[in-house]
Symmetry: C2
Subunit: 198 residues, 2 copies
DNA sequence: GTTAGCATGTAAGGAGTTACATGATTTT
DNA sequence: AAAATCATGTAACTCCTTACATGCTAAC
């Protein structure tokens, strides 16, 4: 949240790399990408696009408008500067890179970074989560007051979720380190693997 | 997010039920309870407490201040009205109850509600998550464009997380329905199952 | 012909974080 | 004695969501 603007910018830059898109479509793709829960509102997206236009990170493409269509469908595409900004944001490895939202979007675009960067981001993310677990463990041991049944269950479930996340990251890190197996990054670690849906 | 104020209020009301507490301590407990990630800032908590004071939901207790301590440690406790408000918020089952943050805090205080309410909240939460999965599945099938390796892995992992959440809820619902087993709510359902991970 | 989805925006307002400000107490 | 942590606040600022406003296009 809070620092979501940055995230959106990076996401827009990354998505437009696939080809020109207009706002409405961007929003859908964005929601699918980082929208586990919250959805991005127009009131958030369009102003961001305007801002990016002004910063010359993206530009409007001439709209294919038939004599009939009065309403323009504005199609955006990345500029050279935008492309450089994307590279810059992706290679700039730092604390912000492993914050919840930021991590997700960066991960989604891992295909366009070097393994070195990928590893640093994955490892940073993992330590962040590990710290979280440690902190909780520490605080939990300090307040040894016996917790309520449900509150305890919630706590347990929360801890397990984070631990699961850590295992996922470890799998991915391993996969990066020895790409012995055929291409699939960490897929078989996460399991699920086979989907036999039509 | 957004409607976090409500959540904080409910949490404060619930926590103070355990006994009087001062702001600093409340904050720590709160962060431990709903703080998987974000932490609650003072700039958020204290104004909320002030607001609740004005609404007579809580009151300041006379500070045990020795002649030495100049700085008062303000201790809060729930009023009768606050207690009623807590009951009201907990029994009022509706969409807000199964929003991410709201659900967590409500769940933590399940010990103080009836099974009927608990079931409705659990089931509401489960449908919400199920809808989320369906929506994603639907959108994913529409855009059959082959996804990038990493983006795909992220998607997969996200879906699995939600599915896991659904299973957890199902376990809890079962446990509520037949409390045959000894007390422990859904603990053994969440499992942990056997971890003989390779 | 009307509903639903495509498509683009803006304005107001709320919510909460950051940074600031202050001081006490405990630990190293 | 310094550092850490306890403890309580406030103000400004940043974001973002909500609600509003408009109009096209496809399906039912």
């Amino acid at each position: 949240m809070t620092r979501r603007a940055e995230t959106i910018e990076l996401a827009v830059l990354g998505l437009l790399h696939e080809g020109p898109m207009h706002g409405y479509e961007l929003r859908k793709r964005l929601n699918l990408m980082l929208g586990w829960g919250r959805v991005l509102s127009y009131g958030s997206l369009y102003p961001t696009l305007k801002k990016m236009l002004k910063a010359h990170l993206i530009e409007e493409t001439a709209t294919a408008l038939t004599p009939v269509t009065r309403r323009p469908r504005i199609v955006y595409q990345v500029t050279e500067a935008g492309h450089r900004e994307f590279e810059h944001l992706m290679t700039e490895v730092g604390p912000t890179a492993w914050e919840d939202d930021n991590f997700d979007i960066r991960f989604a675009f891992f295909g366009r970074t070097d393994m070195e960067i990928r590893l640093r981001v994955l490892e940073g993310r993992r330590s962040r989560l590990q710290e979280r677990l440690d902190r909780i463990q520490r605080e939990l041991s300090l307040t040894q007051k016996e917790v309520d049944q449900y509150a305890g269950e919630l706590q347990r479930h929360g801890v397990e979720s984070v631990e699961r996340e850590v295992r996922w990251l470890s799998g991915l890190i391993d996969a990066e380190r020895n790409p012995t197996k055929q291409g699939l990054a960490g897929a078989e670690v996460t399991t699920t693997t086979e989907r036999k849906d039509p």
